[in-house]
Each structure stands twice: as C-alpha cells, then as structure tokens.
Amino acid sequence: MSVENLLYQGLIGLTNGMYLWLVAAGLTIAFGVLKILNFAHGSLYMVGAYLGFSMYGEFGLGFWSSLALATLTVGLLGLVLERTLFRPLYKLDITYGLILTFGLALIFSDLVRILWGGVFLIPPTPAALVGSFEILGRAFSYYNAFVIAAGLLVGAGLWFLLDHTWWGRTVRATASDREMSGVLGINAGWIYASVFALAAAVASLAGALSIPVRVVTPGLGTTIIIQAFIITVIGGLGSLRGAFLGALIVGLANAYGVLLFPNIELFLIYGIMALVLLVKPEGLLGERQ
C-alpha cells in the first residue's frame, strides 16, 4: 500500500467526516444549551435531504437555492419544535426529552414515508460539480471537495458565531447559568429557540448536501444519528471541538477500516468508543463535571 493511497483514503474519510461533523455539531450544541439529547436530530438531517431533493430534483430550483431553502426551512421547523414541544421539558428530568424526541424520530420517519413514499430518491449531480480532479495521482470528485470545504466553512462560522459575537456570548452565558443570565436581562427563551433553530439548520444542510451522492430514504435519520451519538461520546458531549474531532475520527476510522481492516471495519468505531469510555468517560475534549 503506497503512501499516496493511504493519504487518498484519508481524504475520503475526511469527506464522510464532514457530513458527520455537521450532524454532530447540532447535536452537541442543542445538548450543551437546552440539555435536550435530541434523538430526532437525525430526522432533521433526513427532512433536509427530502426537502432538498424536492426543491432541486422535483421543482427544478437550482442546487444552491435548494440547499439554502432546505436549511432555512428546517431551521424554522427547529424553532417551532423548540417553542412548542421542548419548552415545557426544561424543568423536567433529561429522560422526558429522550422519550419525546424518540417519538418524534419515529413520527418523522413515517411522515416522510407518507409524503415521499418508501422508494429511495436521488437527483442528478449539480452540473457545476460534475467531474473530478487529480490529487495524489488519483481522481477526486469535485463534489467531495465541495463537501469538505462546506464542512470546514460551517465549522469556522459556528466558532465565530459562538466565540466572537454578542449572540454567542449570551448563548454561553445562558448555557452556564440560566437564572443568572435572566437576571442580567437575557431572554433565555429566545436564546434557546435560536440555538435549536441553528442546530436543526446545520443538520438539514448536511442532509441536503448528501442528496446527489447518497440515496434519500425514510430510514436515513436513524443511521446517521447512531454515528452522531458515537461521535459525541468520543469527542465529549457539549464540546464543539470534541464533535469536530470525533467526526474526523469516525470518518477516518470508517475509511481506513474498509481499506486496512476489512473484516473488523464495523467494530472499529465501536471499539474506539468503548476505549474512550474506559479511559476518558467524559470524551476526548469533554471536561469532567
């Protein structure tokens, strides 16, 4: 196995890692602020994929407009979910949120089946991203390169938003002490709503990004949420950097697993998760309470 091929496989793992990162980012942010462990987060990815498909593949909107619209729509859906269903849960035990979002995941799965049917869907690759370029002596698709760039850009955007804006400071303040931030005049309710809308929008973006490459099916949300949970366990729940690191680890482990350990490839990420739980149960970048 040449070094070029090893590095190339890393690029493939990085691409997958970007989808996972976008989903895990929202999951970790929503938990960090709302204390909601959102089972239905994968469903938001799935709804983003279906909306993206309809807008781009059926209604003929451009790919870029479809990406933006699907992201905004699911962001709004997140806002509505937070204001109506999650709001009463904040004073209750975390398990209530688990049960609610678990139910939501099942409802979303059946809803898309009713609205879009059970058969998988896939639109054409957007014309601007058809084809490949040479890297490390092999062809790498423009689309994958675009996904990597999009993932990194969203990551930079999230860090900027949370670290360098007034909104980000109020989010962090609210996350660490809701009552105190209320005393300081912060409207925690709307902070919560905006955080969840953002988390939903980012998951939806990942879903919409995936449509020209992966098929859209009703079970989509469940598959991705499992990986997102693994990522947050590995990286540390509530840690955005942890989610990024975890997504890279899982993405790369998948890719190198297929290449180097084809017989234990599935076990690999579970093995890594188990190891992290044994050695650092709060996650690689999580902090002990």
């Binding site: 196995m1 091929n5 190339y8 496989q9 691409t15 997958n16 989808y19 970790t28 938990f31 960090g32 089972f39 688990l98 995941a105 059970g118 058969v119 998988f120 896939i122 054409p124 690759t125 058809v130 490949s132 092999r138 062809a139 698709s141 994958n144 949370l162 670290d163 962090r172 996350a175 660490s176 995936s210 020209p212 490459v213 992966r214 098929v215 099916t217 009703p218 989509l220 469940t222 598959t223 499992i226 949970f229 693994i230 366990v233 540390g236 729940l237 509530g238 950097r241 942890g242 297929v258 290449l259 084809p262 599935l266 739980l277 709060e282 996650g283 999580g286 902090e287 002990r288 309470q289």
Partner: protein, 445 residues
C-alpha cells in the same frame, strides 16, 4: 474551547441509553409496520371475484397468501414490487373465479431484511392472519432462516427473490425442507453468468470486489472466483471491500479497491445501495479507469430508473454491465409483452423482477391448488414439484429435486433505450443455456 457545560458521568450514561434506544429503533418489534392490507385496498380486491360463498374448501371463505418483502429503506422498492405482482395475480385469479372458488387475499409485511423480524412476521401471517401460503423474501439470510420454520408452520413458502444457492442446494435438497420453493434465479445468475462473460474478455485480468457484506454478496463473490478460475488462469482477484446493509457512503470501498488498479469491479450491493455506490464510483472517476463494472442486480427497475439520467449523459462510458432475475425486455414473447403492458397500465411503472417472480408464484400456487383440490401443503407441494410454468420470464420447469425454477435471464450493458424511455439492459445481451450455468442436483463437485 468548551463552550458548554461539561458532560458528567450521568450524561454519558444517558447517551449510552439513548444510543441503545436508537439502535433498537432500527429494528422495530416483530409485526410492526404492517402495510396496508391489499385485500382492503382501494382497488377493491376483497369485493371482487368469487367471495360469494362458493369456496370449495370447508371452513374458510378465502385463501390468504402472506407476503414477506423489504418495504423500508433503500431496498423498499423490492417489497413494493413484490406486492404489486402478487396483487395483480390475485385480482386476475379472483376475476376468473378464485382458487377452487375461494377468493384470494394478499397481505404483505416488512421483513426488514432481518431473519428475526421475518420469522416473527411469518408466524404472525400464518398464526394470526391465517395465511395458507407465503411468498416473497428478499434476503438470503432470511430465506435460510425461514426454511426450517416452514416445516414447523406447515405451510408452503415460494421464495421470489433471495438468491443464495444454499437455499436450493442445502436447505431444500440436502436438508429436505420440502415446503420451500424458489421462483427466481439463484446466485448462479449473479456469479456464474458474470464469469462466463468475463471468460471471453481477455482485456480483463485484474478484478476487484465490492460486496454486499452478508450471505448473498459473500456467496456470489466466492462462486464468481471459483467459476472464472476454471476458464482463465491469467486473472487476479486484487481487492475486496465489504459493505453491510444500511451503508450510505461507499466512497471508502470504491477508493480502497481502485487503489489496486483493477480492470473490473464485481459488485453486489443492490437496490438504492447499488445506485449510491455506482453514483459515488462514477463521481470519483472509477469508470474512466475500468473496462467493466458488473452490477449483479443492476437490472432491477428501481436502479434503472435512478441511473437513467447518468446513462443518458454517458457517465458510465458504456461500461456498466448488469443482469437481474428477469428483465422486462426479454424474452420477446407475446406473454411477456402483454404482461409488461398490463403491468405498466396498472401501475404506471415497469415491472421489476421481484414483481414478475411474485406474480408467477401466486399463479403457480393457483394452478397447484386447483390441481390438488386442496390447500394442504403436502398436496400443493406435490403439484408444484416439476410443474411446467408459463410465465412472463418464459416457459420453465420448477425442478422437482430442489424446487428451483430453472430459466435463463440475459446479462448485458446498460444503455438508454428510446422505445422504453429508460436505461435498460438492452445492449450486448448475452443469454446462456441454463445447462451451462445452473448447478444440478445432487450438487457434487
């Protein structure tokens, strides 16, 4: 930066619990997700036919046929097409007076490609609903698990898709689970036909596998290698990558086998997974480097519908080869043409092979029940053994020894066809005699 409050041990435990719940959600409990009962569907099946008390079998009003198909996820169209084929056959039978005067009812349940779920559903369909016969089954693993269960349930099962040769060679022939029949071509089609074609393509010497990581994919790759090695000693099997059910990202698989610079990829993921796989392979430039991509079940209609725009744009450079367990454009007989037209008229889609095989299975059950004069599994089974069947796929025998339908299906290149208005296996069609590629009882090396 750790923007948010830290996760403690309790949270980690909560995540672990959440994780297991989500995993469990992947496999809903037995008997869940029962699709609409076709007999009560809007086509009014239950009201048609001979449901007027003329049923000649004492103690029942109708003959129920239970179906087990993949009705969810990327493989869902297979189950849907099975249901369409079964529904069409049942309506035709009912219009002709039913089976022994009894109305035929169909009910499908989602096997979820999981042996435990499928066995639960089989028990449910027989025990709760009162199914006299079962048809369907997509997954090889499910078919193997069901074979002994059919003895216990004492019902005939006609498999209409699952392909492992272990079903007819071992479970039916060697282990004597005589209640099981198969109306669809086994993995001989996927593997031996591929080997016979590649045997005549000297430009192909390096072959890689992207396999479905379960019984079907494993047995297909093994049989392909074994067969091709009998014809060629200059081929090398250079790489393997395995993808389990529910894989959505195949790019690591494509990348890892393409690193070995193969001339051909032998590929067995199917349905939506096949579409994602070849789209990802195409995007990464694999078709420019290969001579041939063999997508074993690429001739299924769901796959052909999905790849049509890419085929029209020549994205696969004419190198995509496929076969199926029946293709709608072959054989060119009146029976087939008329059936395809009737199917299109009814459903506004072309029939997939799972529709054809299930349609044929329900009709064969009708003929066997009429000939036996009963629904007793032993009597009906005896009629099915060695039955000559005239189906859209051609006229063939349901081989008595291993209960296997023996009929050929072509393989060829996937091209766009103006007349059909869809990508199809319509170029370089190669049809082999069944003697050339079916293994025969007693299945000794």
């Amino acid at each position: 930066m750790n923007v948010f409050p830290r996760a403690g041990r309790a949270t980690v435990l909560a995540i672990a619990a959440a994780f297991f719940l989500v995993t469990a959600a992947c496999q809903p409990p037995e008997g869940s997700d029962v699709p609409e009962d076709v007999a009560e569907g809007e086509d009014g099946t239950a009201d048609e036919g001979s449901g007027d008390g003329a049923c000649e079998i004492a103690g029942i009003d109708s003959i129920q046929i239970g179906g087990l198909g993949a009705l969810s996820g990327a493989h869902a169209d297979y189950g849907a097409q099975m249901e369409m084929g079964a529904e069409m056959a049942a309506d035709e039978i009912n219009e002709q007076g039913g089976m022994l005067g009894c109305e035929v009812e169909i009910r499908f349940m989602d096997s979820e490609l999981d042996p435990e779920v499928a066995i639960g559903n089989a028990r449910n369909l027989v025990g709760e609903w009162g199914a006299e016969f079962l048809v369907g089954v997509d997954s090889s693993g499910v078919a193997l698990a069901l074979a002994p269960v059919m003895d216990e349930l004492d019902r005939v099962l006609v498999v209409t898709h699952a392909a492992t040769e272990k079903l007819n060679e071992e479970e039916i022939y060697a282990n004597d689970h005589r209640n099981v029949f198969r109306m669809s071509v086994p993995v001989y089609q996927d593997a031996v036909v591929a080997a016979l074609i590649v045997a005549e393509m000297p430009e192909i010497t390096r072959i890689a596998n992207i396999g479905a990581d379960y019984e079907y994919g494993r047995t297909a790759w093994a049989m392909f290698q074994e067969t091709l090695s009998q014809y060629r000693d200059d081929v090398e099997f250079v790489a393997e990558a395995w993808a389990p059910f529910l894989t959505s990202d195949f790019s690591p698989h494509v990348s890892s086998v393409m690193a070995e610079e193969p001339d051909m990829v032998f590929s067995t993921p199917w349905a939506g997974e096949a579409v994602a796989l070849i789209r990802q392979a195409q995007q990464s430039g694999a078709f420019q480097e290969l001579e041939m991509w063999w997508q074993a079940m690429g001739a299924s209609v769901d796959v052909l519908e999905a790849v049509t725009p890419d085929v029209q744009a020549d994205a696969f450079e004419g190198k995509l080869w496929a076969t199926g367990r029946y293709i709608f454009n072959w054989p060119e007989t009146d029976t087939n043409r008329e059936w395809v037209e009737a199917f299109q008229e009814r459903y506004d889609r072309l029939p997939n092979y799972s529709a054809q095989t299930t349609y044929t299975a329900v009709n064969a059950l009708h003929d066997a029940v009429e000939a036996a004069g009963s629904v007793d599994p032993a009597d009906v089974g005896a009629e099915l053994e060695g039955m000559i069947i005239d189906a859209p796929a051609g006229e063939f025998t349901l081989r008595a020894e291993d209960h296997q339908a023996v009929y050929p299906v072509p393989a060829g290149r996937v091209v766009y066809d103006d007349d059909w208005g869809i990508a199809c296996v319509c170029a370089d069609l190669q049809v082999f005699d069944t003697e050339e590629y079916y293994r025969d009882p007693p299945f000794e090396e």
